[in-house]
Symmetry: C2
Subunit: 449 residues, 2 copies
């Protein structure tokens, strides 16, 4: 038994994370744009008492649409439709800081936080793909410039969320006083990337700040996470790598005046679950047999920067230099994986098809729980980002078979601790930076009375 509680996020992606999921009999690819599909997934995740669900996003059609189910829904629009059919689960959407304005982003997440009763989270991305820049008429900014913008973006967004103090709305109908204007603050932000007057035109939300999530693993990404993020999604293939990342990230927090408990590290895991190990391996093989090599080759070429063709399938990955730092952490992970396990390109495609570099584990519920427990108890994870190979089936398997095993082991909750995402993640609700301390005491006195 441990006194820490595991945190689990359901990473939802179309009809499954495996790139061939749409071809497998367990899925219905026509449900890609059907809100009821996602509502069902949200309800299943909530039945499993998962902390949150998460939708990734990009701002361009990427990957070969001939061979994968692409063209789904925009995350923020979708999440408020999921908020209304759930009560507890957190709702995390990916939104880019490179191709947006802070006022819009602050307002949409504030709205989602109101609509969901305090369950909104923002996965902050800086949009690395050139294809995305081409949909916004600009050259893709350099990595460091994207992070510089993201940093100021976060300053502005959090100021906007703070611009209405908690007790700004008075609502005194008799006196005709709706709000105390002295508790609603302009920002007058005037920075390098943004000039924003404020205040926000949406009142202070249940969580104060919707939860801040991040997934970059570059130096800039880790530094950004150490400063702002409250949860980090990450791809780590081995326990040793997971431990190193965990210690590295948590170690960076002190310089921003934060303690390690204020950030949850959630590595990705794609669990391929069978009632026996043989059944799990059979499902893994079924999915692998549905892979279209041309699709994977294009993805792998894009990810590694190596031009690959069908002729390379049964050879090892060509030798290339790997920068150990910089923007391309996923590239390094993939090349390391191929070298470490001495994989042919074909085998590497199979390993990547399940989770695009995230760890894939096929086994019984007990074996999956073992993996989770080892990482959780050995300084590599505060929880996991669950990436079911097929949806809804793979999520149902996890909720019905792995979650009970984790509960029996005392690792995972049987009931939600709170109503907001912050409460379930065990994170504090931030105060408004504009609130005078004396006023807070007054408010406490009012609340206590």
């Amino acid at each position: 038994m441990t006194t820490r509680t595991l945190h689990l996020n359901a990473f939802l992606m179309g009809v499954g994370h495996h790139e061939a999921a749409w071809r497998h009999p367990r899925t219905e690819p026509a449900r890609l744009t059907d809100v009821r599909h996602y509502q069902q997934l949200a309800r299943v995740a909530e039945r499993g008492r998962l902390d949150s669900l998460f939708l990734a996003d990009g701002l361009a059609l990427q990957g070969d649409v001939r061979h994968n189910a692409l063209g789904g829904l925009e995350p923020l629009t979708l999440l408020s439709a999921l908020a209304t059919v759930t009560d507890h689960i957190g709702l995390i959407a990916t939104v880019s800081t490179t191709y947006n304005e802070p006022f819009h982003v602050a307002r949409k997440f504030a709205s989602l936080d109101h609509i969901s009763g305090g369950r909104a989270g923002w996965n902050i991305v800086t949009s690395a793909a050139e294809a995305e820049a081409r949909n916004f008429g600009i050259e893709r900014p350099a990595h460091a410039d994207r992070y510089a913008r993201a940093t100021e973006f976060l300053e502005v967004v959090t100021k906007l969320w703070d611009s209405w103090e908690d007790d700004a709305v008075v609502g005194d109908r008799r006196a005709g006083l709706y709000a105390d204007a002295g508790r609603i603050h302009p920002l007058d932000h005037d920075g390098t990337h943004f000039r924003v007057r404020g205040p926000l035109n949406t009142s202070r939300t249940p969580q104060g700040h919707p939860l801040l999530v991040q997934a970059g693993s570059s130096q800039d990404g880790k530094e950004f996470a150490a400063r702002f993020a409250e949860a980090v999604f990450t791809a780590q293939q081995t326990l040793a790598e997971g431990q190193e990342f965990y210690a590295d990230l948590k170690g960076r927090m002190a310089r921003y005046g934060r303690n390690p408990g204020e950030l949850l590290v959630l590595p990705g895991i794609s669990p391929i679950i069978g009632s026996t190990e043989r059944e799990a391996l059979r499902l893994e093989k079924e999915l692998e047999d549905l892979i279209i090599p041309a699709y994977g080759l294009a993805q792998l070429s894009h990810m590694t920067g190596i031009e690959l063709s069908h002729d390379d399938l049964d050879r090892p990955l060509p030798e290339v230099s790997v920068e150990t730092e910089g923007a391309q952490s996923r590239r390094k992970l993939v090349i390391d994986l191929a070298r470490r396990e001495n994989l042919t390109v074909r085998r590497l495609l199979g390993r990547l098809a399940g989770g695009r570099g995230h760890r894939v584990v096929a086994g019984t519920p007990e074996q999956i729980a073992d993996e989770i427990q080892v990482w959780f108890e050995n300084g590599a994870a505060d929880g996991f980002n669950i990436m079911p190979p097929t949806l809804p089936g793979g999520l149902e398997d996890f909720v019905d078979h792995v979650v009970p095993e984790l509960q029996i082991r005392g690792l995972f909750r049987r009931e939600y601790e709170g109503r907001t995402l912050r409460e379930n993640y065990g994170l504090a609700r931030p105060a408004s930076r504009y609130a005078a301390p004396a006023r807070d005491e007054e408010l406490d006195a009012v609340v206590a009375s």
Copy 2:
């Protein structure tokens, strides 16, 4: 009896359109950020078989928050939460073309159209307020520049909506062919304001194009509406003005190759409803008695450009020149109203408090229906934009008492004609501009077989 069908839109605004609604016992101002309030309104409007509901929006906190219930939810985020609790009603959100990017806007409305099964509509605005510009770090662009950008914005958005042909998704699991890449098109748009590569990363939606709505009444605004809009919300005080606007707008359409039936003109009306005329007038008086003159004076000063104080309350509006054209159509309307009816400033505030320049009619359900019928049958309206003074009560009154009267007169539907907003508005579904005609015939053959 008429063979035309009236179209009715529920214009939802917080706890009511009357600026003092939040002080009236019929409302609960704390519901301003409560999604259940809006879900209730959507269900009431759908019970009344209204075509659509609509949320206005601005990108700054405008008006004095001390004296009015401000700081509500962002429309697009809210609408998908309403989509999931309704089946038929159209869902129209205001989004600005001045402070957004076409790729985002196309994608969010496409997502809402998928989520709602073809009920999304976009009220296109260009954001006239200086306060809005200050939240985006730029000088407010001139009126003509805003419309020039809006025009190109619409070109890009509709191209993005067309970028996936209707039959682009094949979904052949056995062959491993998800989509026909030849039916998904880049735009390669390269214009004055935007360079957008495309295609969209959301597939073709049920309506093809979410419905395009507009509300500008300037020359530029009317020209833009004649070119793009399929429904127009407008403020018109008298039948003669309504007729003039209606004929003017419809007369402009031919130059864009459109016929008058492809655009619905929906003037605003705030119905204050009583079972007797006396009861209606009493409710109007109750609301008027709750007005805070300082709030209305500030609004009126802003709207007219005339500095007004408490000392002016019992005098006529000072003489000012009124341009007959240009950006300030609402200014002209207000000044004309004061002159025509010889109103003191105090009386003018009372007239504006109900609908900010939209027509306010207090009376019995029969009297309200009479007004609607006269405008509908005399070339001033294809329907109305219903602006209840209080919410939900004012909308319930309209649905329970005015709608049945309109149905008895044969003016309004008893059941929805279709499932999409376009079907209920009686408007065609646009074809993708990228679809080859021959392919359309093939598709028809497939659909018919």
